[in-house]
Symmetry: C2
Subunit: 237 residues, 2 copies
């Protein structure tokens, strides 16, 4: 089922089979997008939301000179722009990083869904709040960590989220990001990301190359990043 990974194993919330089935039924269609394609632009009026089935996607804010700051990276199971349901407009763009498969859920169907399964509304709300918690962890990352710590922190987060989404065994995982992407995530320049990646490799913490990440020493990587997965609200941390 397309919705299998949505809110899987989250602390404090559980989707009932009926709710999951109803959500599944609310999907109007499945779309695929090529890599590096902007799918939704800031300010558009939204009448659907998107559940990521496969691939990696991002949300970003452009500055005046065209430089972008990523504000979120999404893994399979993420309901990426569920906030567009109450908000109706987004304050950021949404784009693919790698080729992606997305389930489209019309807002009209969400309305009916909540009507039919009232407790589901609270669970959708919950999902958007985890997103906000991730935003806060990113604020900590950008505000308080040095370049090496930032990249390490991001890798730790991706590791934890991909493991939770059953997309990683915790040892190594596909992460189709370029060093440019990492720079736009961590608030650094590409050149410096390149140096940081080397440092992480030379210090035996992790290896980032060719769209794959290999965790070499999770304990030390976590320490270097001051990473605490609490904010992900995973049931099995």
């Amino acid at each position: 089922m397309y919705t299998d990974r949505f809110l899987k194993d989250k602390r404090g919330v559980r989707l009932e089979p009926a709710e999951r089935a109803a959500l599944e039924a609310a999907i109007s269609d499945i779309k695929t997008f090529p890599p590096r394609k902007t799918v939704v632009f800031a300010g558009e009026t939204m009448n659907f939301s998107m559940l990521l089935i496969d691939g990696l996607m991002s949300r970003y804010i452009d500055d005046r000179r065209g430089f972008r700051q990523l504000v979120a990276v999404h893994v399979p199971g993420d309901f990426m722009d569920l906030h567009g349901f109450p908000l109706k407009q987004l304050d950021h763009d949404v784009a693919t990083l790698t080729a992606s498969t997305v389930a489209m859920v019309p807002h009209r169907a969400l309305e009916q869904l909540i009507e039919a399964e009232p407790p589901l509304a609270r669970k959708l709300w919950f999902a958007t709040l985890i997103d906000a918690a991730i935003h806060r962890a990113w604020l900590f990352r950008l505000g308080r960590l040095d370049a090496t710590g930032r990249v390490a922190h991001f890798i730790c987060e991706m590791n934890a989220r991909l493991v939770a989404a059953d997309c990683s065994d915790g040892q190594s995982f596909a992460l189709g990001l370029t060093q440019v992407d990492l720079a736009e995530i961590c608030g650094l320049t590409t050149v410096h990301v390149n140096r940081v990646v080397r440092i992480l490799r030379e210090e035996g913490l992790c290896r980032i190359q060719a769209g794959r990440v290999e965790i070499l020493d999770l304990k030390r990587l976590t320490a270097r990043a001051q990473f605490d997965p609490y904010y992900l609200y995973n049931a099995h941390p």
Copy 2:
């Protein structure tokens, strides 16, 4: 009424008088807190949420060495930890900045409230999503702006939010923050904040002193900060 400022003048949502009255009735008591006091600690189980009536409060994440990164600053009318209602635990601390008055709303009362006024649930959700949008703007600030831009961006945001909350005339406003606070918000050191504050004053953009901010040239300040108030979802930007 205590709840007058909550969701006031927000794009895409409006609290009906009956809803506002019901929310008002859900308040169990009003508390006052002295400045610089941590009110809620990360990880505690929450059974109430707090609506800020008067004062300035913050949410922050501590790093291992005790340095903090503020992830939110709240102005009167903000439902500061409404996300604690679905989430039940917070991933950050909550503290006062200045002396503050807070309306306590038990989660049990919120449950009954939503039962009595179902459309209110969506509006509470909406409120937490604006918080998330502000987080994203902060990510942009930390990731893409230099020190001067960061402080300018924060001042622009506070100006817009305080005007919307009827706590500023748009020319000057009380902002009981020290340079240490500004540093913890903008991911800078105190020393450097001091220099930035001087630059902003010398360039005729704004004056920040003795807990007050005076906007000298909003247009240039906004440009320097690359500030766009869209993300605040204010009806009258």
